[in-house]
Symmetry: C2
Subunit: 501 residues, 2 copies
């Protein structure tokens, strides 16, 4: 059986090698590829994507999994081998349920939809993408149908990103969270807004870059096994345990944009860098769910990167680098600026308090669209109305409304958004446990040191990759299922220091 | 038949997509990959290399070629389709003659040999690589045997780089060339050497880079379809017709190093950029032979880049960029400096007059090693003795002797070197024809314009890719087989202007 297991691993490594090559092609496309390379690059990525899919759904892998199953059941459930068989089986079943012909068609449609959206958004023209979005909704439903029976049609789509979560559990969590959030947001936004003009002075790119690199290196992002480049949209990509890259973008009139993006991506990347090297090239060798992944980007971006402790150490260093820009700005004023709360139009620019309301709105629309209770043609109006209800402002156009996010235009409708809010909830839950284990973490952060926190995360979360599901990790770490309390406590603690709640 | 032809093309495109991905992985490895990525990258490249080989030697391609052959014979011999079938058949026969198991073993050996050489060269320790080089010689012989019968054992190895060339033709050309070269070198080196100290002032990297980019853009290298990066060893790589990249390296105390390397690589790249876009992703979509490829790098580096006409325009611009470094250095003095001739130890640093003597020495050793007339263990001594005969100087060590070039340590023995000298010969032959068509080329170059020359090369050479063999191209362009006269005339004209010959 050992031999068959090795045979399976060899096949999985081959699939992974091809997928990683696709990731390199994508990374190059967004970083350094000259314009003339685009057309051929699209072909190359499509060919390799198809190849890796073909190699993975190879019936030989199914046979090996069948043959290994009885052996796997004799192994300790906690062993790497048992986890490898479990997770590979889950991926294999998922991949083989969807006919390759459907996937080919769907990907083709998505590529076209993305192109049209990329033009329709700046032109503020929903009517251009509407027919494509209608097809996307149809494809999304058909995709879900391959996994019937289900409790709710969105469940299979959620499963692909946040395994084990369902419409029912997400909705319950979200409405509980909403009840707590709305009064907090209401209380804060009825007080005078923070002054964040100090973030909008001229911050030269080179200096921003140097500061960002200093910080993420100190947090624990390993540049021997990664690098930072510039792209239009920041992202993290893994080519191997030893090569996890991040990207960012710079706005010379917005210090926070690049800085918090860089720290956010470094959070994703530290997760990937922390996975056991032995899992490299296998289904265990990546983050376990969208929610847990986002929890790590948000831990480092928000819980650490927007904390008073962090800036107690770093603000003097920032001020030394940008003395003119931050002259007469106290640590307190700077801290208020980076934690400004406001009812704004764009999710990706939203603060910690309002962010989840943006996500819930999208999640509810995914449900309504998939259930057929909302027609695509009615989306812009429904969006604006719901936005007015939730935020008290009416989006002036669709560009700042239902056209703002790429997700529905470059992927399926359903499963794309819940991970962001799950990530926020999980980030506080994990951090809470880390604090229980090491109450001195905040004091360490005040010294510009992050070893205790980073070490705890590697030990309890990162190293396992996909060995444990999100639910299993949460249970192992906290002794109970996902709860919103630590997150609510975190937000209340943070904002009651800044506002009267 | 059209349908079968399209089916063949689709299969060839797939192979090409995988090969191009390998090229991207290689490029990234030498430009931006962090150190931690090396191990996984080796695996990824090996997997994709094997996959592209498997896909290409697929019997289905053989069957399509068989089925299409009668149709191909009805097509005009000059048609693209006929050429596609001809060249694909040739590649397919070559690829299917070598057992995949042998290739796997050989590549594994080569990777190891390269690693050991990379350490043995700086340590000046031939004994470390000797056993590996003995195995390489054995592998090279076995590789050639797969193509038996042959006139000479090196012929199949030459064929892989310079299709149609044989030991007999190369040796004849080389000895003819040698008879002409030796007296020229003798005459020049018996006169006082040129003073090239002006090239060894401090030339800041950023300024060198900017000047290099200005020049290669003016020559016709298209940055919309390419880019320039830094690597340890300069090279050109093609990912598609629209994405042909070059690399260079900078030595702040040697202006010529980066400048002529950059122009050299731009020459290779302009060839690749000039190939018909319709050939992209097929066996026709690359340069036709090592010799013709090298002819283009040498045309731009030497015939143009080391000409008086070129510097008549560019020297004032160079001087404006480096006023302190070139103060009091006349165009004439600069021109003599960049064309300094000397008997030196290292091929890659050699001038136009002595360069081919370095190549001939290596070619003769390949023959002697493959024929079994020279044992690997005797190579260092034989090298030094031959070098003393040819150059009048004794290499002080193997690092500057038989360890200097990567070729034998990272590839087969045989076929690696003749292309360099063939390239020199061909460069002058093509340039001669371009001058006959457009006698005003030198005057245009004096104006910093290169359209006539570049246009002639695209029209007569570049666009065809591998449609015509080197021999066919030469015949088409000059009306006769490869001759050394234009090259000898070029060298005599050039050097009689600088020295008494």
């Amino acid at each position: 059986m050992r031999e068959k297991y090795q045979e399976l691993l060899a096949k999985l490594h081959e699939v992974d090698d091809i997928q990683m090559a696709v990731s390199v092609l994508n990374w190059d496309q967004t970083t350094y590829m000259p314009p003339g390379g685009a057309e051929a690059r699209g072909r190359q990525i499509a060919t390799l994507g198809r190849l890796s899919q073909e190699k993975f759904i190879d019936p030989a892998i199914g046979r090996l999994l069948d043959q290994l199953q009885p052996w796997g059941e004799t192994l300790p459930v906690d062993s790497d081998e048992a986890a490898m068989l479990r997770v590979t089986r889950r991926d294999y079943d998922q991949a083989t349920r969807v006919p390759p012909a459907f996937l080919g068609e769907f990907y083709g449609h998505i590529a076209q939809s993305y192109q049209v959206w990329a033009e329709a958004r700046p032109a503020n023209d929903f009517s251009k993408v509407r027919p494509l979005l209608e097809k996307t909704l149809d494809y999304s439903r058909r995709l879900a149908e391959f996994f019937a029976p289900y409790d709710h049609i969105i469940d299979p789509l959620i499963d692909m990103a946040d395994y084990g979560m369902k419409a029912a559990t997400v909705s319950a969590l979200f409405s509980e969270l909403r009840r707590e959030l709305v009064p907090i947001v209401q209380a804060i936004t009825s007080q005078p807004a923070a002054d964040d003009s100090c973030l909008h002075m001229n911050y030269p790119e080179k200096e921003q870059e140097a500061f960002g690199i200093d910080v993420v290196r100190a947090l624990g992002y390993d540049f021997e096994r990664g690098r930072l480049d510039k792209t239009h949209h920041p992202f993290t990509t893994r080519f191997a345990a030893g090569d996890v890259r991040i990207t960012t973008r710079y706005d010379e009139h917005n210090f926070g944009d690049a800085f918090f993006s860089t720290v956010h991506e470094a959070g994703h990347a530290m997760y990937e860098q922390g996975i056991r090297v032995a899992y490299d090239g296998t289904p265990l060798g990546s983050g376990t769910s969208a929610g847990v992944h986002e929890s790590q980007s948000r831990t480092w971006e928000n819980i650490v990167g927007r904390s008073r402790e962090f800036w107690t150490h770093y603000y003097p260093l920032l001020k030394a680098r940008f003395p003119a820009q931050l002259e007469n700005i106290s640590l307190d004023a700077f801290y208020r600026a980076i934690n400004k709360v406001e009812k704004s139009l764009v999710r990706v620019d939203a603060d910690e308090a309002t962010y989840n309301l943006h996500v819930m709105l999208r999640f509810d629309f995914e449900i309504a669209l998939l259930e057929g209770k909302l027609a695509v043609k009615d989306l812009p109006e429904a969006w604006n109305e719901r936005f007015r209800q939730d935020f008290g402002i009416l989006p002036p156009n669709d560009r700042l409304g239902c056209l703002q996010d790429v997700h529905w235009y470059g992927g399926s409708i359903g499963g794309a958004f819940q991970g962001y809010t799950l990530g926020n909830i999980i980030s506080a839950l994990f951090y809470d446990q880390a604090l229980k284990a090491h109450p001195e973490i905040p004091a360490e952060i005040e010294q510009g040191k992050f070893d205790l926190l980073h070490g705890w995360l590697v030990e309890n979360i990162y190293q396992y990759g996909r060995k444990y599901t999100a639910a299993e990790l949460i249970e192992r770490v906290s002794g109970s299922p996902l709860r919103i309390e630590p997150y609510i406590q975190y937000l209340k603690r943070k904002y009651s220091d800044l506002y009267a709640l």
